[in-house]
Symmetry: C2
Subunit: 323 residues, 2 copies
């Protein structure tokens, strides 16, 4: 049986190598990716990288799935914070709470992630990690995106899922490195992206071990102990992986440092930005956006010849549910 599976896997790998990235149009982005992968996997070539060092890191929001009109985790948070509000009368004077209740996206964006994450931390503080996991799964099962009227987990990008599979078929280990919480991604990342829980790196809320009914349980505290965004991303990668990625993928200024550190390594590297320029099939936003702003990273990409993917022209389809 093991033998048979090996043969099947080999055949599948050959097939993948023959027709990579079917949802990508021919062009500089696709050929840049394919040339990079060929270069680092060709034994004896000057750019060859052993499989163990083929680390690829992907931002999640805006890179692997959509992030408009607001990070999906924040939409979840709104529901969760509303549910917790009766237990927190002190929130009436909290600017982030007020902005959330009013759905004032502009005010929320101006506040930045930190006060929102703090509010969310308080909203689920005291839950065991199992209880918290259940609130996320329950929410994902019933919540629908305001524009697409579909579960949020349908809004993953088909071309990026093909890219993840293509890299893995070529010996890469693929990681998510997101400003969002690990807990919000782990329940569905394996099914959606083929990325197991242990390869999801994200912001971290404090948890502590307690005994309940003579059993040890992990319980959530209110504070975030690590924010995995901007300059935090290379730190999260160093802590969790301990190797410098040779390929990194993002879409906003929050990914700039991850891409810079990746590109600054010795040998051939791939740095890629997804540009949201398709208002019809998804959303169009960049330098002026409050969510997923792409400004400094775009300038850097131009200066350093990183790949910039146009969702409009490089991708045949964005979501798998498109006809």
């Amino acid at each position: 049986m093991r033998f048979f599976i090996c043969c099947l896997l080999s055949a599948w790998a050959v097939l993948c190598a023959a027709q990579p990235l079917p949802s990508w149009n021919e062009g500089a982005a696709k050929s840049g990716i394919v040339e990079f992968v060929k270069a680092v996997t060709t034994k004896g070539g000057k750019d060859y990288v052993p499989p163990a060092e083929r680390v690829a890191t992907f931002d999640n929001d805006g890179t692997l799935w959509a992030e408009q009109p607001m990070y999906f985790q924040f939409i979840f948070m709104l529901d969760q914070v509303k549910a917790a509000a009766p237990r927190h009368p002190e929130w009436k004077d909290n600017a982030a709470f007020q902005a959330l209740v009013k759905q004032d996206h502009e005010a929320l964006a101006k506040l930045g992630q930190k006060p929102l994450l703090e509010l969310m931390g308080q909203g689920n503080s005291g839950m065991t990690v199992g209880e918290y996991d259940k609130t996320i799964r329950d929410w994902l099962a019933k919540a629908r995106h305001p524009k697409f009227k579909r579960p949020y987990t349908d809004l993953t990008y088909q071309p990026m899922k093909e890219l993840l599979a293509y890299l893995r078929a070529n010996g890469f280990k693929t990681y998510i490195v997101s400003g969002g919480s690990v807990e919000f991604m782990r329940p569905w990342a394996e099914k959606a992206y083929g990325i197991p829980p242990e390869q999801v790196i994200g912001s971290q809320q404090e948890v502590k071990l307690e005994m309940k009914d003579d059993k040890p349980v992990l319980t959530r505290g209110p504070n975030f102990v690590f924010i995995d965004d901007g300059p935090g991303k290379p730190v999260g990668i160093y802590r969790s992986i301990g190797r410098r990625p040779i390929a990194a993928f993002g879409n906003s200024d929050g990914d700039l440092q991850m891409l810079q550190v990746t590109a600054a390594g010795e040998g051939r590297r791939l740095a890629l930005l997804v540009h949201h320029d398709d208002a019809e099939r998804e959303f169009a936003y960049d330098r002026q956006s409050h969510i997923g702003r792409l400004d400094k990273a775009w300038d850097e990409a131009k200066a350093k010849n990183w790949i910039v993917v146009s969702m409009k022209s490089d991708w045949k389809k964005i979501f798998s549910f498109e006809k």
Copy 2:
């Protein structure tokens, strides 16, 4: 070629399954391990666990390699702190520094890990992560253990290395979960144990991203942001793996909570303690030891029927260099 390697791997897996754990004497410890592995890998059996959930976590100091007369990382630290002392005149009033210089092991043990880790943090603060890695590799290359007169990396336990390989051959993912720093283990854990850097969980010192000569580099700060010991171990596992282990291996009270959380999961579980009872071939210590004390965890093991390995009677050899 890929096909050929698959066949070789299959043949090797069959061979491993036929003669597992050659350095282990027949007895309750070995049979307990083998029965557990058979139970969780037998498809259709009531205890079957899918490969993705076969997570096994190992303490390092005293479980995978020796830890006497003092944690090897602390011996490294002594050298490093001595080298940094001229830059830190304030240390003359520091109790941990005084104990280190005097090699007062009793005082060091009484102080506990925290002040020592703080001192070490100050000793390497300001280094880039690359510079720090080099100091560790250089030290490991030249330092020798006071009793065995060998490099510290020779003092890994042969039976435990066989156990790691046996578990991996049966679809387990093996992790180190240590109170020591990740940086001190990552340079050699893959060669010694077959455990890659991304599967090493340990205490974490702060690092921050800085620009030097127009290049982004990670630089070390003085503070530990996470101590992966005692109740910290289940927290480290939750953060880094996001799955509860089904098997956990330790040797001291610092591993108690990791073993408790592992054993408290649903389904068949394996919790194992290594008991240092061989003064001739290694060291003998338990309830009264300042380093690697085994007291509460031993009581728990007896109460809960965990496996307790006698190094003296369960292991044919301890180190690979023994005749």
